[in-house]
Every structure is written in structure tokens, then in C-alpha cells.
Amino acid sequence: MPRRRARVATATGLHARPASLVTRKAAEGGHPVLIGREGEPGVDASSILSVMGLRLQHGDQVELSSASDDAEALLDELAALLESDLDLVEQA
């Protein structure tokens, strides 16, 4: 079961807009992905409601995991997204 760790880099935390960039990527990825604070059970990474409900702040350490062995590349992409300042990313 692939896993990744990432530290939230968005200065203002993962509020609605940055969270939507993450959940959209997860939804398009085609594999089930869980996201959560380290040591806590994860939530569906493609659910904006669940991800916003985590109230992730700048600097929070999170864990990504997937039950699918083919999700390695997707987890890399999601980890990279979490580790960039998403307030600076233009909304597509």
C-alpha cells in the first residue's frame, strides 16, 4: 500500500480554494486516496467537504495513502501539490 508524507506549504492553510485544487487532482487520478494528519485515520482525498473539514494549517504534516498499488505516481503528484503554496497557483 503506497504512502507519502507531505507538509502543507500554503501559507493561509488548506481553505476552500487550495483544498479544491487537491481534491480535483485526487478525483481525476482514478485511484482511491486517503488523506489525514499523521497517526489519524484518513478521509477521502477527492472529497472537498472531508478535506476542508480537516482544517489543515500551514506546516501541518499529513499522510497520503492508497489501497491501489498503481497510485504511486498520483501520490507523488498530490504530495508535490500539498508542498507548494497553492495561493500562488491560478485557478484553472
Binding site: A11, T12, H15, A16, S20, T23, A27, V43, D44, S46, S47, I48, L49, S50, M52, G53, R55, H58, G59, D87, Q91
Partner: protein, 578 residues
Amino acid sequence: MTTLDASPAGAPAAGTVLAGIGVGRGVALAPVALVAAPPAVPADEPAAADAAEGEARVRGVLAEVGDDLRARAAATANADLRQMLEAAATMAGDPALAAEAARLVHAGTGPATAVDQAVEGFAAVFTAAGGDLAERATDLRSVRHRAVARLLGVPEPGLAALDAPAVVVADDLSPADTAALDLSKVAAIVTELGGPTSHTAIVAGQLGLPCVVRVPGATTLAAGTPVLVDAAAGTVEVSPSAEAAERVARRADDERLVAAVVGPGATADGHPVPLLANVGTPADARAAAAGTEGVGLFRTEVLFLDARTEPAVADQTAAYAEVIEAYAGRKVVIRTLDAGADKPLAFATQADEENPALGVRGYRLVRSLPGIVSRQLEALGAAVRALPAERQADVWVMAPMIATPAEARAFAAAAREVGIVKVGVMVEVPAAALLAEAILAEVDFVSLGTNDLAQYTMAADRLRGELADLLDPWQPAVLSLVAATAAAGVRVGKPVGVCGESASDPLMALVLAGLGITSLSMAAGRVPAARYALRSLTLDACRSLAAAALAAPDAASARAAVRAGLDADVARVLLGEG
């Protein structure tokens, strides 16, 4: 979609004034149109006969609501409204929401109840979180209302088509509700819930609609009742008199005159008096960035007071950098932590004080918790050093509660040590105002905090309502300390700004300009009136008004003297006088 019928029983009587939080300065008089209440779920809703079919209906309806919201998003011209509708559409299509509703349907819950409960589960988390996230609960509930209405086969909540301008009154308005309004027929918006940063308020502000939020009793108004909405006062007057109606018509014209004056703050003869914003959070700073020339007071307390542990230096730097970026190319004045026994820090033990306003607060924290002060300066220094050299002097850093030139010297040395280019202090203790020239010799600028200056000069607690007359910034003793500080700045050629409440009183703004104050900082919403006031008089005229105010024997006559010096039209526009 229907408006509720008029229900005279229990409705507020003519002349009643309901109070809430006003957004903007507009006024309007029009009849009430009530937005229908959202559909309730019947307590005895039966379980779906076939759970799989029930699940399919719930998923189908949520998808339909998402499509409908997306179509509304595509049809609206307002960019913010479009973004909010798209966010609500995404929530309607959320996999975790559908999964939870489906689970409840399989557990024997009726379909509409299942959607209701699934939404409330998420909404409760958002509401408990507070702030921006609590506002998102409104979006989520708008999804619930639409999905529940479809599942029950009842009309979706909303407003009947308006045939004449009306004051739209609702519990709360979601973006979907707002998108459904014919805005050319909306005279004003009043909500019982919501806050000044809610969607309703943001959209109303952009459209220039008068808006009052958090008005208890608003939804008990009967449809068709004429109401006078005054956003500047934050009031809703029920069935106002004919005289009040005339006043509104004049005020609406005058507000247009105020809004028509744009550009930098300056007197009629072009003497610049930059108009800056007071902000408390990076989000405030972004909201205030249009229409002001910089930040005159960034209160950094918000980073500390709610924190369970001291924010890391890197996190502090990121927050300062965000505000600085929102104002790239403009001045940002950052005030270091103003905490003390009256505003205790959750993560540091401070002794209880008998007299907290006179105790270890503001810069005095350096005596008991020097690490917090030095780490904040380190974070600010890092934010400054990260800027290109030509922008480093745009970031001004000042310390609160300075009483002596020695304190100013120590703060300036510590700030310059970490690379801060422009260092200043607040003048809010009378001792600092009396020694302004000696203090200015140690720093690059000072900023007057007139609220605290009045409290300490008049020995009157800011929190005691019954002493409000003593705390009046027009008190001659307070004015003379302001004048002495401004005069010291003029003598040594260094900036003396004002960032207290008094800067936002347009009459006081004229006096301050006349005294030689170099910039005025206030809540962003107060800037247009100050700009209009300054643009109406020359610097010489401001100087005469300042002299008249200083010569007055008491606060009321000081203000009256300035009022008497104004052109009648200007006085009417600024003071809403008939």
C-alpha cells in the same frame, strides 16, 4: 418560489428600529420582500421501499442540484458569485456527502432526512471551526435545501419575481439565492444571520447595495412593509416617517458624491495625506487592498492571541509576507504584538494585574517575555530581507506602548539589527507625546494611537461606556497632545501618522491634516468619507480649522467650530444633515 404572506401578528410596529451590522454606507427605502424559508424534513419520512432505488434517487438529485448550480454559475456575470456557485456545485457532487447519505438510506432513513443529516454532519464541523469555514456551511446548506425540496417534491426556496425595487429579507442568503435575484430590483439586503464577511455582504458591497446583516427579528417583518435600510448606521427602520424618506433620497445622492471622489488622499490644493487601512489579518489586508494607499496599522495580535503555542518564526514570517505582498509597491506599517494582562497570551504565563491597562503590555512585554518580542522581530526581519532592496523601505515596523526615548532607542536598535529599514513607535502614552521630539530622534517615524492616548490622558477606562465623553478625541487635552506630536514631526522632518479611531471621523481628518499629520489610517470602509472631506478644503483652510479646534474650551465646541467652518454642502454630505 413564493414570498411569504404578510403576517401582522408579531411583526415589529411602525417606527421600530432594528439594529445589526451595516456593510458599506448606502441607504435605501423600499418594501420588504421575504425569501421563503427552506423546506423542513417531515419527522415521519418513511424509509425508501427499496434501499438501492432510494440510494439512486439521492445520488441522482445531488447530481441534478450540482448541474443546476453549475448552470447558474455559467449564467452569472459577477466573478465572485460565479466562484461561490461553482464551489457549491462541487459540494453537491462531493463523493463523501453522497456516500454518507447513501449509508443512511441503507440504514432505513428516509431519503430527504438522509441528505439533511449527511449535510448537517459536515456543516456542524464547518460551523464549529468558525471563520471562513463557517461561511462555507451556508453554501452547503443551500445544497441541502435544493436537494431536500426536490426529494420532497416541494418548491425550492427563494423569492418570487420582483416587479418593483424591494428590500430582500432572509435568514441568510446563499450564493445560489443571490444568483436567482433580479439585482436591478433589489434596493437593499437584510439578513437575520450571516456576518460582515459573508457572501451576502461581499456581493452586496461589490454591487453597491446597502446591506445590514445579523439583524435579530428581521424575518418577522411583514412582506410589503416599507423599511429604511441605513448601512452606515447598521439600522433597519420599520415604516419610517415621510421626513425620514426625504432624508434617504438626499443621503443616497450624497453617497454617490462621496463615492465619485477617487485617487490618493490630498487636500483641495494637492497637499498629500495618504489614506491607509487598519487590518488585523492577511484576509482583511487583501479585502482592503483596493482603494487604499497602503496599510497604516497591521495588528499582529491575531497571530498570537488565539494560538495555543507560540507561532513558529517561519509561520510568522509567512503571515507578514502575505500582507506585504497584497500591498506590493505600497507602504505597510506593522505593529508588533500588543498583548498584556488585558489581552493574555494562551501560551505564556503572565502575572494577574490589578490595573492591566497600566501594566506589562505592548512593548513592555520585553521585560517579562523578551523571547517573544525578539522572535517576532526576527520573523519581521526575515520578511523584510526577503524583499528586493528597493522594496525593503516599504515595510515600516513600530512598537506599541512606548513611554520613554530609551525604550524607543532599544526597540529601534533591536529592529535595525535584524534588517528592518523603517523603524517607528506608537505615541499613545502622554509621556511619549510630551517628549515626541526626543523620541523622534531615536526612530524614523511615529504613529498616534488616539484611543489609548485619550484613555491615558483623561485617566478614563476605554471599556467604561459611561465615561465616553471623557474619551472623546475632541477633548482639548487630547488634541493638544496630538498637536504637540505633529509639531515635533514637522520640526524634525519625520512622518507622524494617526492610526486611531479619530482618523476615521472626517471632521477630525481635516483637523489632523491641518496640524501637520502626514497620513491617516482607518477601517477601509471609512476611507471614502475622509478622502471626500480632505478634497473639499485647502491645506490652509485645514490649518484654520485646526487652530479653531485647539482654541475651543471643550470637546463639543471644538467639533462645532470645525463644523461651522465647512461649506454647507460638504457638511451635509459628510454628516448626513438635512
